[in-house]
């Protein structure tokens, strides 16, 4: 459904995307993972036809993304990463406007989405909170029942309940055979919905894997506080992968060896254990290598 081939686009500052190639099959949910500034949005701009490629091309349903935008938009739902509406309109006016721009007369899906996401449609968009704007953007992307979705960080700004509603909606659409490409900088966000994920770093696609093997390679860092020097030495000799040691605080990386990790800890006196929030680079050290900070 979505084909990206040798896609290259360089910005003036040397950043950009380089020789990207991947494809998303019909009915598949594809996660597009990468830290901020890695080229996720740049790729999406190419798919939407907002920018010209230096090299390579991308197609959606066989249509060229730069030249056949009109045909593509008939079957595409898009959520921009940075949402800016016509701020003088109310939520409802904006949805009606977008429906009219798409020659979409049937409002039943729009209305059911408004109910589902508990969107307040009466107020001016200018006055809306970030979460409310995000909901409005999501409804705009879903309301014309497209075949393909391209969603740039869909859950940004949503509260946990709404994030769950979104995941449910994405899974429903997947069950109906829709194709979804969604970008994210956090693994947790796409973990529940995606079949496969592409990992991008500094504009290059590092790997495309199915989500289960990604889970297996995911590393978690545990910050363990132990009681004594001996415990620290014990952990050092346990064969576990250790990060920084600061007094009695020991950072331990665990990917699949949970059993060994627990057995080693069982021998020590553990005072405290914490899982600090991690960046994508830390989670996927395997892909980002030592080069990623």
């Amino acid at each position: 459904m979505i084909e990206v081939k040798d896609l290259t686009m360089t910005y003036k500052n040397g950043k950009g995307i380089f020789d990207l190639s991947f494809s998303v099959k019909k009915g598949e949910v594809f996660g597009y993972l990468g830290p901020n500034g890695s080229g996720k949005t740049t790729t999406i701009r190419q798919l939407l036809g907002f920018t010209n490629a230096d090299k390579g091309r991308c197609t959606i349903n066989g249509l060229d993304c730069r030249t056949q935008t009109k045909e593509i938009q008939k079957i595409l739902g898009y959520l921009p990463g940075e949402i800016a509406f016509f701020s003088d309109m109310t939520g409802m006016q904006f949805l009606n406007f977008m429906n009219a721009m798409r020659w979409c007369k049937d409002k039943t899906r729009t209305n059911s989405l408004i109910e589902r996401f508990e969107l307040e449609t009466g107020g001016r968009i200018r006055k809306m909170s970030k979460g409310m704007k995000q909901k409005l953007g999501l409804i705009t992307a879903f309301m014309h029942d497209p075949e393909v979705y391209i969603l740039d960080e869909p859950t940004a700004g949503l509260d946990p309940l709404m994030q769950r509603y979104f995941v449910d909606l994405a899974l429903e659409e997947k069950a109906r055979g829709k194709t979804i490409l969604m970008s994210s900088h956090s693994f947790g966000e796409i973990d529940r919905t995606c079949d496969r994920a592409g990992i991008i770093r500094e504009g290059r696609l590092v790997d495309v894997e199915d989500i289960h093997s990604l889970k297996a390679s995911q590393r978690k860092a545990f910050l363990v506080t132990v009681a004594s020097e001996e415990d620290v030495k014990l952990l050092q000799s346990s064969g576990l992968e250790l990060g920084g040691i600061n007094g009695s605080h020991v950072e331990i990386f665990v990917s699949s060896n949970y059993d060994r990790f627990l057995k080693a800890l069982a021998k020590c006196k553990v005072l405290e254990m914490d899982i600090p929030s991690q960046s994508l680079e830390q989670v996927f050290m395997k892909y980002y290598g030592q080069g990623g900070q």
């Binding site: 907002f50 010209n52 921009p80 940075e82 509406f85 016509f86 977008m98 721009m101």
Partner: protein, 266 residues
């Protein structure tokens, strides 16, 4: 051309048109009411007390003796240039660059409409609104003159005067629109979209002051809108009209083509 977008653009911008129309009609009414064939000499005497350069810069030098030439000198030399120019600067920037800068263009382009359709619709709005503004001023001018001084206005010449004002603003709005399409930042769109017309405006003022600065007029589009020559039927006005139309076609066309091809940071 997309009618839904045209309607939305009108809704977002009509108030600006209304404000400029009201201001311009107020000035037109005041100036028309000042016309008095008998006391015109008094007015000229009053103007003589002002510095000659100032009077010349504003184009009030020769007010003539008929209502038509009076309006031509007093209204069509200066005010008819300044207000629509500011209108074009404000609206030109809002139609394209503002949508790109804020990112709302992303939503317009995520509908089944080509870039060409979107940008052409915005161009048509600017052309239509400038036409509406000057058209309404023309009608108001005729109505005001006929109500205050029935039969005094030479309507044919007055229409010709307004036609030239309209052509001038097709060219000026084209320049504003071109920069709005060219730049992704409203900062630059406004800097150039306002800078170029204002430079023309200032050059025109300086050129009016005296023979010494006459040559500056060749650098300004506003020189082409010369009420005296239009009323006199000077052959110069055919060339002027041609230059204005070509400028409008090139700037609107160029803006649309550039927007259709460029990279959008949205």
């Amino acid at each position: 051309m997309n009618f839904t977008l045209f309607k939305a653009t009108t809704k977002a911008n009509w108030i600006i048109l209304a404000i400029f129309f009201v201001i311009m009609v107020l000035y037109l009414a005041i100036i028309t009411s000042m016309f008095d064939p008998v006391s015109l000499d008094n007015l000229n005497a009053m103007l003589e007390t002002l510095p000659k350069e100032l009077v010349a810069a504003m184009g009030f030098e020769d007010l003539g003796t008929t209502l038509t030439s009076f309006l031509a000198g007093y209204y069509y030399g200066f005010l008819i240039i300044m207000f629509p120019m500011i209108y074009c600067i404000i609206v030109g920037n809002r139609l394209v660059a503002k949508h790109v800068d804020s990112g709302s263009m992303a939503f317009l382009l995520s509908t089944p409409n080509t870039r060409l359709t979107i940008v052409t619709t915005q161009a048509l709005y600017l052309i239509a609104s400038v036409t509406a503004l000057l058209g309404l001023i023309t009608l108001s001018g005729i109505a005001l003159s006929e109500s205050m001084f029935p039969g005094e206005l030479d309507i044919g010449s007055f229409l010709l005067l307004n036609l030239y004002a309209l052509l001038t603003f097709y060219a000026i709005s084209g320049i504003c629109f071109f920069f709005s399409c060219l730049f992704n930042d409203t900062k630059y769109s406004v800097a150039f979209g306002a800078g170029v017309p204002i430079a023309f405006f200032v050059l025109n003022l300086l050129a009016n002051v005296g023979d010494k600065y006459d040559w500056l007029g060749y650098l300004s589009l506003f020189t082409l809108m010369n009420p005296d020559k239009i009323l006199a039927g000077d052959p110069f006005i055919t060339i002027a009209a041609t230059i204005l139309i070509i400028t409008a076609v090139l700037t609107y066309g160029g803006g649309i083509l550039i927007f259709n091809r460029k990279n959008l940071p949205i």
